[in-house]
């Protein structure tokens, strides 16, 4: 049946934003200089932030991250959730004023999946019919299940039921792309257009007059400053050069000058920091050993070290995923001492004791937080158990290579969801998945995931996934450490943002109210 | 005297910091305007240090005091700061070793112009013109060829002229010249002294000239003073002092004047028939700097022969290429053409490896002894270095004995083996260089102005030593000198170098009796030998 998309409250908020006329300048930080402004090629989170300003998918997200109509006015799907139709806005325009039609959309999807584009995120589009084959070059682009049914109507066919398709279509990989001869970066259709880009220095954006909701955009000039050094970001925020500072490190947040404390915003993020255990190689190939380590880890200590006491993680899938019921392992409530005693027993059973300590290496990539966590974890194990941990840090690419080649025993890893879906996390451990650096291979687990994917009923699907997670945590190829939070500083005069599970805050919803003249 | 004296110095005392007997004990001196005083004294008597003390520029480690010092009636304390205003403007000083005294990295024209600007307040352009005029005045013509040169691109005599011009240019009331003619040929020396004295008369400058050339001083100075035992032991009109020296120290110096050559020419040991050294068509070119090219070669088509046991005197005006020849013989400057045969080997273009075995047989005493001594080595090590290199002497003890012997032979206290070169006087340094060469017992010794800084007595002794070595050991000598008397005394054959080639050569007696070339005649005339 037809499904009317939720009409968001933000529209109401928008009305007030138009009324308050400080169409001023907003300066936001980026923790990384975007490597690309092509939605199909960009990979980083930070590039994603900018792309959401420049583009709009068929579906957009409101300030709370809920899908709302974007370039499409409305959509409908069949009861199987496999065949979707999107009604395009007649007034949709590219930023140069040319109309944006269903043909453009078809071309864009094909481009995203074209092997020549070499997009990494295109994997996310694989639920679309033939997408996987097209992506591997095994089928022609024309085979793709995205079809124009007239200039303003688009049909999307899926391989398997996917109730969450709208959320998927709000991702940059599903943004429309039109290459222009004039600039290296493609043309967009979003609330803002790029006015200037100086690598390493800044990106300057101005409102896009052809945007369908241009009247609601309350920011007159949007500047993104790539600041890779957290301390530098903080300094510039303190100096009044930034209105919005992203990715403040835990240590900096802990030591914030008192006048800035009210501007600190800490929000949960759908993401988990964990240790991956190499299950293909002794000594961690032994599940008893893995479980012992999972039991004995003092997560609370680490979480409080990082200043996020409530976010110690016992599960891989973070709390807050819609439809998902967290699956904490049975020992969750036990006191640490008791858990550690059990761990000792497990290790003893595996043949490790004071005379023959368990020796393994924990690798992490460079980073102050990673280092602190690794030291703390190593300390919490070696204090309670006959364990000797060798810490080893590496620069990122070398680390990835080591991890991928499974040349270490334990490594640090983390995952932030693209979609609010447990599968996004669990698929990392499917056997044969290129991301499965643990070498975890459990046919049962794989089967549970396959079941969930074929399931059209959201509730049943969630159950299969919960089941899979339980099984995963029992085998413990992964030791969750903590669930990510985002820490940022936001000026009090920046209004309109709302907490949301994916922690995305496009400037379309922001406005500036009551900024003191001195801070302009 | 109605006019106050230019310099009044009473009771100058110079000693090492802390300990020991003073080097200069009680020096008292007075100079009237326009007066020229010749100061003589044994090498190491303290002449140079006294001069430096007046400017407050003693080397570190030495201290000076005086009871009274006044310049043109104004009294000065013996402190460096107090004396600063005197420097250059009040007292001009010509340093004993011009190579060490000129800034090695600045063109001489620049250094001259700088002094003129500082003391005469000339503008840049005017200072440059005046610098050129001064170069011409001291005999460096055409000045344009010299203004832009650096000290190392000048001959010893040319440097000395620059040093004199530097001291004269500001027109100080007192000029102290420390052996200002030691590197000059007799006519030039005469000319320079005439210039000095002339300027002194004209401007009322007082002149204090330190020198070992007694005749020269006698000719130009009214008065001579003798420094010995740290004080002026005798002072009198020049002719009087030379004619009737009273003090033993004076007598020693005066009596040391050379007599006639020790024997008639040709009566030496049998001279080997085959020449030890034969130079043919030797050509040495100037080093091309930047874009400058095509200047004439320094030596061109030079021919020379020298037999074992023979002493060849090489004389010639300053800048004629004597030093260059000496260096070319030793392979220290690149030879552009010609051949040098020594003891059966060809030296031109020889590799460093090929040179090594020959080094011992072929030794040199450099013209600027100070610069040729490694400043970080003690004298003993300097003299002993050749012994170690060539493996002479069985052990360290024997080598040390040889070093002491060589030092003694060169007229030095063997105990100074522990000194560093900078602690020695100019003459002492020269003797170290001689000792270094002698210690190796070479077959051919090149002496480039090797006796110029020695007092007459020492000079006589060393000449005698060289002559003895020549006769007894068959040492061959290439004796480069401006001291024609010494050359004539030592050498049976004399060659005259001019403009890079030998213009005349022949047996001493013939050359002295009947000089053929005008250059020779001029040299002889100025030395009072013609």
């Amino acid at each position: 049946g037809a499904d009317t998309p939720p009409a968001g409250e933000p529209r109401v908020a928008q009305a007030t934003a138009v009324a308050a006329p400080d169409r001023g300048r907003l300066v936001r930080s980026l923790a990384l200089d975007p490597e690309s402004l092509d939605p199909h090629r960009a990979e980083s989170l930070q590039a994603g932030h900018v792309l959401r300003e420049l583009f709009e998918g068929l579906v957009a997200e409101d300030a709370e991250g809920r899908p709302i109509p974007g370039a499409a006015l409305a959509w409908s799907h069949d009861p199987e959730w496999r065949l979707w139709r999107f009604e395009l806005r007649p007034e949709a325009r590219w930023s140069d004023g040319r109309p944006l039609t269903a043909a453009d959309w078809v071309a864009s999807f094909r481009r995203a999946l074209d092997p020549a584009t070499g997009s990494r995120s295109a994997r996310l589009l694989e639920p679309i019919r033939h997408a996987a084959a097209v992506r591997r070059g095994e089928a022609p682009p024309e085979a793709l299940g995205v079809v124009a049914e007239g200039p303003l109507r688009l049909r999307i066919e899926l391989e398997h039921p996917l109730p969450g398709l709208p959320a998927l279509l709000a991702l940059p990989i599903a943004f429309p792309v039109r290459l222009s001869a004039a600039s290296a970066a493609p043309l967009g259709n979003g609330p803002f257009v790029l006015a200037e880009r100086v690598p390493g220095s800044h990106l300057r954006l101005i409102p896009n007059p052809h945007f369908h909701a241009a009247a609601e955009v309350a920011i007159g000039e949007l500047v993104y400053l790539p600041i890779e050094q957290a301390s530098a970001g903080l300094a510039r925020y303190r100096a009044g050069e930034l209105d919005w500072l992203d990715e403040l490190p835990a240590t900096a947040a802990a030591a914030l000058p008192p006048e800035l404390a009210p501007e600190l915003v800490v929000l949960p993020v759908l993401g988990t920091y964990y240790f991956g255990l190499n299950t293909t190689r002794p000594p961690l190939a032994d599940p008893r050993v893995r479980l012992a380590l999972a039991l004995a880890l003092d997560r609370d200590a680490i979480a409080s070290l990082l200043g996020v006491p409530g976010r110690a993680a016992v599960t891989l899938v973070p709390p807050g995923v819609p439809e998902h019921r967290p699956q904490p392992p049975p020992w969750t409530g036990e006191p640490l001492a008791a858990r550690q005693r059990r761990a000792q027993a497990l290790l003893a059973a595996a043949g490790y004791g004071p005379g023959r300590p368990l020796r393994f290496e924990l690798r992490h990539n460079t980073g102050e937080d990673h280092r602190r966590i690794a030291i703390a974890a190593a300390a919490s194990w070696s204090r309670a158990l006959p364990v000797e941990v060798r810490l080893h840090h590496e620069e990122f690419r070398s680390f990835l290579a080591t991890r991928r080649r499974r040349e270490t025993e334990m490594f640090r890893a983390g995952w932030v969801a693209d979609l609010p879906d447990p599968l996004d996390f669990l698929a990392l451990f499917r056997s044969g998945d290129p991301r499965n650096d643990c070498g975890f291979a459990d046919p049962e687990f794989d089967a549970l995931l396959a079941r969930a994917e074929g399931e059209a009923d959201p509730r049943r699907r969630a159950e299969w996934l919960a089941h899979a997670e339980r099984r995963l945590l029992e085998a413990a190829p992964v030791i969750p450490v903590y669930h990510y939070v985002s820490r940022r500083l936001i000026r009090p005069w920046v209004r309109g943002w709302r907490p949301n599970p994916l922690d995305r805050h496009p400037s379309r919803w922001l406005r500036i109210e009551g900024r003191p003249a001195a801070a302009r | 005297m109605s006019v106050p004296p230019v310099l009044e110095l009473e009771g100058l005392e110079i000693g090492r910091e802390g300990d020991g007997a003073p080097i200069v004990a009680d020096l008292t001196l007075s100079l009237a305007p326009g007066e020229s005083l010749g100061l003589i004294g044994a090498s190491g008597a303290g002449k140079s240090l006294s001069a430096l003390a007046l400017l407050g520029l003693l080397p570190p480690g030495l201290r000076a005091r005086w009871r009274r010092m006044a310049l043109a009636g104004q009294r000065y304390a013996a402190a460096s700061a107090a004396l600063r205003p005197l420097r250059g403007r009040g007292i001009g000083l010509v340093f004993q070793e011009p190579l060490a005294a000129l800034n090695p990295v600045l063109p001489v024209g620049f250094q001259l112009a700088e002094v003129l600007r500082r003391h005469l307040g000339l503008a840049r352009r005017a200072a440059r013109a005046e610098a050129a005029a001064w170069l011409e005045r001291v005999g460096l013509a055409p000045p344009a060829a010299f203004l832009g040169r650096h000290p190392h691109e000048l001959s010893g005599g040319q440097r000395q002229r620059v040093a004199i011009a530097l001291a004269l240019a500001p027109g100080p009331p007192l000029l102290i010249a420390d052996e200002p003619t030691s590197a000059l040929d007799p006519p030039s020396a005469d000319e320079i002294l005439r210039l000095l004295v002339g300027l002194a008369r004209e401007r009322g400058t007082a002149l204090l000239i330190v020198s070992h050339e007694l005749e020269l001083l006698a000719r130009h100075c009214e008065r001579l003073a003798v420094l010995a035992e740290g004080r002026i032991v005798e002072s009198a009109a020049a002719a009087e002092l030379l004619a009737a020296p009273r003090e033993p120290a004076t007598r020693r110096l005066v009596a040391a004047r050379l007599g006639p050559p020790p024997r008639p020419a040709g009566a030496a040991t049998a001279v080997a028939p085959e020449p030890l050294l034969r130079v043919r068509a030797l050509r040495v070119e100037r080093r091309a700097r930047w874009l400058r090219r095509g200047s004439p070669p320094i030596l061109d088509g030079l021919e020379l022969e020298l037999r074992q046991g023979e002493a060849l005197g090489l004389v010639g005006p300053s800048g004629s290429g004597k030093t260059t020849l000496a260096r070319a013989l030793l392979g220290l400057v690149p030879v552009a053409g010609g051949s040098i045969r020594f003891a059966g080997s060809e030296l031109a273009g020889l590799s460093p490896r090929g040179w090594r075995p020959l080094r011992r047989a072929l030794q040199i005493v450099f013209q600027d002894p100070g610069a040729s001594l490694d400043p970080r080595m003690q004298v003993g090590a300097i003299v002993g270095e050749g012994l170690r290199i060539h493996g002479i002497g069985r052990d360290a003890r024997e080598r040390e004995a040889r070093v002491r012997a060589a030092l003694a032979a060169a007229g030095l206290d063997p105990d100074c083996a522990a000194c560093y070169p900078h602690e020695l006087s100019g003459g002492q340094r020269q003797r170290v260089a001689i000792a270094r060469a002698l210690a190796l017992e070479p077959r051919l010794l090149v002496l480039d102005e090797a006796l110029s800084a020695l007092d007459a007595a020492l000079r006589r002794d060393l000449l005698a030593l060289l002559d003895r070595l020549r006769r007894e050991l068959g040492l061959a000598l290439l004796f480069i000198s401006h001291d024609l008397a010494a050359t004539a005394w030592l050498c049976e054959r004399i060659a005259v170098l001019e403009g890079g080639r030998i213009v005349e050569s022949g047996p001493r007696d013939r050359l002295l009796a009947a000089p053929a070339h005008p250059v020779t005649r001029r040299l002889l005339a100025a030395a009072g030998l013609a």
């Binding site: 390493g200 530098a232 300094a235 991928r404 | 930047w290």
Partner: protein
Amino acid sequence: MIGFLLRRLAAGALTLLALLTLSFFLIRAAPGGPFDAERPLEPELRARLEAQYRLDQPLWRQYLAFLADLARGELGPSLQYREYRVAELIREGWPVSLRLGSAALLLAVAAGLGLGVLAAWRRDRLLDRLLMALATLLQALPVFVSAPLLVLLFALTLGWLPAGGYGGGALRHLVLPVTALALPHLAIVARLTRTAMVETLAAEFVRAARARGLSETRILLVHALRPALVPVVAYLGPAAAAVLTGSVVVEQTFGLPGVGRYFVQGALNRDYTLVMGVVLLVGALVILLSLLADLLAAWLDPRIRLR
């Protein structure tokens, strides 16, 4: 002289080629590649991508292709900044680095020489000790400490200067980064100058210059300094190359769009083409500047022969 220059330039070209060759293979020997990321690519996709950038060919073929491109003045696309060519990145960034670097160099040389001369003049006195202690302190402070301290003091506490940003090259924006960039070199120049000056000040010719009544300043700045500059110039040649190509830390601390960060980012991201670009830049600079340093040394001390 002209012969010397020609010979040196020819040698420089060969040196550059050797440098590029060595770098080419060195950077490819490091583990990991430009297309590695947390989300790995499927092998077939990765192969396709690598083929696009010619990374699938045997090394020697890649090398020959690189040389052929280079001969045409082509450095290729950046592997990291997908929308940019390496030449573009350098063309945009280097003027910024050059501007900062030359100002920093000037500051380091002027102040370093000044302090060094001062210290040598007051040798072993209190001022000398203080200056040298200060120089040591400046040398001991990594830029990642000194730069934030400068910001803390002048931007946050005193509020005199902006905490970052290039501001189109406005003076206000340059003061702090230039200072941060200059400080360590300033300290080194000061120390080298002092030592060399102490040596020349003891020389006889300085005593002779004093005897001529030259002013102390002139003796220090002309007579003693000139020969003392030889080692300083030798150090400054390649140091200038480093300063003129910027510093990651300074650029990151102050948010400046120079090329300094490409050295680190290029290496960390395995952006092979970008790294070759910056190596070319630095290499050419090092070679040219060391030639310049040699010429300068020969001019400063004419006894030096250029061969």
